[in-house]
Each structure stands twice: as C-alpha cells, then as structure tokens.
C-alpha cells in the first residue's frame, strides 16, 4: 500500500480513537441516562470509524476498500440503532413512573417490595 493511503487511514483511525475516548468518558462520567446513551452512540461511531480505517488499509489491489468491515459497520449500525431504541423506550417508561432519568438510588425510606 502506498504511504498516502496509509496516512489517510491512520488519520481516520485516530479520529475514531478520539471519538471512542470521548464517548467512553461521557458514558462513565455522566449519571444522566440520556447523556450516557448519547455517549454510547459517540463511542459506537468512533468504533465504526476504526472499522472504516481497517477497511481502507486492508484494501486489496484494485479495490477502493475491503468490503467485509463495511458490511460489519452496516450490521453494527443496525444493532446500535436497536440498542438505542430499546434504551430510550425503557428510559421513557422509567421517567413516566418515577420522574427520574438517572440510576441514582431512590430516596431513603423506600422499602424493598416482595416479588409476586
């Protein structure tokens, strides 16, 4: 592979790594679930960019890119979309029930209820 392609791919990969870092920070540092969800999406976007860089670097002769990681990214986007949808649905329900949108422990005095 020529050095120019390698450089573009490296830059792309580094951007992906930076995005993944930002996303991870948001996921860990923020208690609010909606922000965490956005963090997960940023983290996911970073990972998909790494896949993109991998596709560029792994390109066979004559092809602009290796199609396998691209197929994986498409699958990954579908999965990430479903995960976000599920999380948002659960979060909305939690908000409707309690008015909270974080997982901070509820106020003291709430007794554990029995299962039925």
């Amino acid at each position: 592979m020529s050095s120019a392609i390698s450089d573009t791919a490296t830059l792309f990969g580094l951007c992906g790594a930076a995005l993944a870092g930002i996303g991870l920070f948001v996921v860990i540092a923020h208690p609010g679930l909606l922000r965490r969800l956005v963090g997960f999406n940023i983290l996911g976007a970073g990972i998909f960019m790494v896949f993109g860089a991998v596709a560029r670097r792994g390109a066979a002769a004559g092809l602009p890119g290796d199609p396998v990681p691209q197929a994986m990214v498409i699958t990954g986007i579908v999965v990430a979309f479903s995960a976000s949808a599920l999380a948002v649905a659960l979060l909305r329900r939690l908000f409707d029930l309690t008015g909270r949108e974080s997982l901070e422990p509820p106020a003291a005095g709430e007794t554990p209820r029995a299962e039925s």
């Binding site: 792994g58 479903s82 995960a83 659960l90 029930l97 997982l103």
Partner: protein, 511 residues
C-alpha cells in the same frame, strides 16, 4: 497483509443442518408468536420447545455417534470470507443444557400463568414467550458461532432478549434494574466490538479456528483480547462488575430469573473461555488466566458473604449466582496443567464444565422454587417464611437438593465439579485457590442452611398459604434439582464428550 489460509478450514459434516435448525427453530417460533398472538402464543412456544429439545438431543446423539464435531459452513462460503457454525463436545453439552432448562422453565411459566387466567393471554405473557424463544436462539448462536463478529451479533441479540425479560412486570424498580443491566451490557458489547475491529485489522480474519493457528499475534492481538475480555466480564458480572446482576435477576418474574441466572450469563463466560483457550497466545493466556482467577476468587468470597447478608430470598439466590460464576474463572490457571497436556484433557476442564452445567440446573431450580414460595405467600423475605416447608414440601425439597449441588456435597453434580477443581488446585500447587474453593463451599452451606432452617422451623402460628399452588408447578423445580444431583452419577461419560472436536485445534498450551 497477513496470509489467508487457502485450504478449507471448516469441512461441512452431514449432520451440520442440525445446527441451523438449533438457531432457526426458536426464531420461527418468535415469528409465529407475533403472527398468532395472543391466542396461540403458548401453544406455539411449547411446540417450538418440544422441537428445539428434540434438535438438541439429535445434536448430542450425532456427536456421540460420529465422535467428531459437527460443522456447517453457511452458504458454502469458506472463512475468512464466510462464516461457519461448529458444535464440539462442549458446545453440544451447553446446547443440551440450554434446551433442558428452557423447556422446564416453559412448563413452569405455563403453570404460573394458569394461576391467573384473566392475564393468561395478556401482553406480558405473550411477550414472555417471544422473549424466551429469542433468548434461546441467541444462546445457541453464541455456543455454535465460529466467527467473532457473528458472536458479537449473537451477544447483542441475547442482551436485547434478556433486558426486557428483567422488566416484564413494568414496576419502576425493575425498569431501573433493566436499564442498569443494559448500560453494562452495551459498554461490554462496544468494547468487544472494538476488539473485533482490531483483530480484523491485524489478521484479516475473524474465524476462531484460523486465529488459533496463527501463533504469536503481537501487541494488536493482546490489546484486542484485553478489550474483548473486559467487555465480556461486564456481561458475565464477575466481581467488580457485578453490581447490575442482583437487582436485575431478583426483580424479574421467577421464570425469567431462572433463565437469566442459569443460562444468559453463561454465554459471555463461554466466549471468554474460547478467547483465552483458543485465540490467545500461550503467554497472554497464562497472564489472563491468573488475573481472571484472582477476580473469580474475590467473586466467590465477596458475593458469598453478600448472599449470607441478604434479607430477601431472590436477592440471596442472585448473589449466589455471582459467587458460583467465580468458580468458572478459577479454572483458567488450573487447566494449564502439566506440560504438554492440552487444557481440555485436564480434570479442571471437566470440573469447570460440570460446574457450569450443574450450576445452571441447580440455579434454575432454586429460582423456580423461590418463585413458587413468593407466589404462595406474597413475599420473599426470609425472616417471614418460617415453616414454609410444611406448606410447600416439594419446593423446600427442590431448594435443598439444588443447595446440595451449590455447596458441593455428595452426591451431586456440584460435588464432582468442586472435587475435581480442588484436586486440580492441590496438584498444580495453588493453595490459595484450594482454600477459596473450600471457603466458598462453607459459605454456600451457610446461606443454603439459613433457608432450609427457615423452611423446617415450626413457628407458633403456622404460615398460611395465600393462594393454592398446584403440585405440577412445584414438580418442575424439583425435576431440575434432581437433574442437578443426578449429574453426580454420570461422572465418566462427559470426559470423552468434552474432548470431541477439540484435538484438531492448535493447542494454546505453552511448549
């Protein structure tokens, strides 16, 4: 880039179509439930379970008959471009275990729903059947997958089926528990996905069998494996990452708890096992094994003590799950065994697998028995259950028998498993691990006897059953507990079974 294998790595075997059936039958069941809901959901689900159980038995029989692993190459495309499904002895044992537990849980759930006919065809019931079958399909995919990205998709399917199972009853606490579970699981999957990307970038393939033959993978492989294993640990709820598990498993309806605790967390454990033994280069595997064993041992000690301190029965069982999962991680340093012996020929490997299967059966039995108790008395506070053994003798017996296996008292599957692990720890010179195994057994004895003691107490005013429990409902839990005990009587047969299909792999043992 790196050379790709030219000779076919996977050769399809005649029985391979069974593996496809194992994946697709539950999915067809889910689609049929969506089409026929809500009237026919139960019939469709139970029919799918019968068919799935038959397929699992057929896979096991075919494996024993041919003495070799079953392989199916999807679409005839060889890896690295295509993906393969493969069932060796371990996968087949886990598929059989899954089919057994899911079917028993299905029967239990049917009995439980019959108790309240007005909600029998309701939304929660219908959703439960669809999610149960979806969980089953995802589990089978994890156990059969050979492609790391395919396994990622399977793990995500498993999460998406398992998280709603936690919050089926829609209360605020279970919603919070489900969300916490989802957060841990999503972080775990994304770390795993990043590792997959790095491995593809370095080697151009994601097939476990090809990767196992590559030898030393350099720093890229180590970083990728560290990311993937860390992600999977979050899903497997090992000690420092276990916080999501107790509220999630204790808050779910009884049948869902049984599936979550017995089966769902076994999938990431199984993947860690495959990554460490099949993919990791020997030195990295040894290092990871030590680290995982330390975490496993802490998990056993810390969560057993936590289980002792719980006031509620289901929370106690959930903490016990984290403790018992710890045993599966101390297998790694023990299975590295004497020089030249591949891990799957050591007694620790057999012991670990037996622990996995017997825990699945025993824990499902415990959760179902606890579900019956909670249904009968309206709560599950241990202090308020004095003398429940008189009202529900079969459930108390099921709990006790399952407890035998968790404690490791003969005769039971758990006894053989812990005995093998203990022997391996002594032979290989790991006194701390041996002491941990013994201490874990004692602590398990403590929390099981606390419940048995409550069950056999004779309070001044006998406990009144709030609603009658049909005998059949209790029998399901008892049958699973008896199966866990019976595992202790077939010690020799699994040895051979677990080695089927392993010998072809390049060994991950230090030269």
């Amino acid at each position: 880039m790196t050379p790709l294998a030219l000779a076919p790595v996977h050769v399809a075997t005649p029985g391979g179509y069974l593996l496809v059936l194992a994946l697709t039958l539950p999915v067809i069941g889910v689609l049929a439930i969506l089409a026929f809901a809500p009237r026919r959901a139960r019939q469709v689900a139970l029919a799918s379970m019968a068919a799935g159980l038959a397929v699992a038995i057929a896979i096991l029989a075919e494996l024993l008959r041919t003495g070799d692993a079953l392989t199916y190459v999807v679409g005839g495309w060889q890896p690295p471009l295509g993906i393969a499904l493969r069932a060796d002895g371990l996968s087949a044992a886990l598929i059989a275990m899954t089919a057994l537990v899911i079917s028993a849980t299905g029967l239990f759930a049917r009995g439980m729903q019959d108790l309240s006919p007005e909600t029998r065809d309701g939304r929660a019931a219908t959703t439960f059947w669809a999610l149960l079958l979806a969980t089953w399909s995802a589990l089978n995919t994890v156990f059969l997958g050979e492609d790391l990205f395919n396994l990622y998709v399977a793990l995500e399917l498993l999460t998406f089926a398992a998280v709603p199972l936690v919050c089926l009853d829609g209360r605020a606490e279970t919603m919070a528990a489900a969300l916490r579970y989802l957060m841990f699981a999503l972080l775990g999957s994304l770390l795993y996905l990043l590792g997959v990307g790095l491995i593809y970038g370095a080697f151009g393939t994601l097939d476990i069998r090809i990767l196992s033959g590559l030898g030393d993978g350099g720093p890229a492989l180590s970083v990728a494996l560290a990311l993937m294993i860390a992600g999977l640990l979050a899903k497997a709820a090992l000690f420092p990452l276990h916080l999501w598990l107790p509220p999630a498993h204790a808050g779910a309806p009884a049948a869902a708890s049984a599936v979550l605790s017995a089966l769902v967390i076994k999938a990431p454990v199984f993947l860690i096992l495959r990554l460490v033994l099949d993919v990791a280069p020997p030195e990295a595997a040894a290092f990871a094994g030590q680290l995982l064993a330390v975490l496993g041992a802490s998990s056993i000690l810390f969560c057993s003590v936590m289980a002792l301190r719980q006031a509620r029965l289901k929370l106690m069982i959930a903490y016990s799950t984290v403790a018992q999962i710890g045993y599966l991680f101390i297998v790694f340093p023990l299975a590295s065994g004497p020089e030249g012996t591949p891990p799957w020929e050591t007694i620790a490997w057999t012991g670990g697998t037996l622990q996995l299967v017997s825990h699945a059966l025993a824990k499902a039995a415990m959760f179902l028995a606890a579900g019956v108790v909670a249904e009968a008395f309206g709560h599950d506070r241990i202090a308020g259950l004095g003398g429940f053994g008189r009202a529900l003798p079969l459930s108390a017996a099921a709990f006790g028998l399952a407890g035998l296996s968790l404690m490791g008292i003969p005769p039971s599957g758990g006894f053989i498993a812990k005995c093998l692990l203990l022997t391996a720890a002594v032979i290989n010179g790991h006194p701390w691990l041996a002491a941990t195994i013994l201490a874990g057994g004692l602590l398990a004895g403590g929390y099981v006897f606390r419940v048995i003691n409550t069950a056999l107490a004779s309070p001044a005013t006998p406990l009144a059953v709030q609603r009658p429990i049909p005998r059949r409902l209790e029998m399901t839990a008892l049958a699973l507990a008896v199966a866990a005990v019976l595992l202790g009587f077939i010690p020799l047969e699994p040895f051979g079974l677990l080695q089927i299909g392993r010998s072809g792999l390049a060994t991950a043992v230090a030269p």
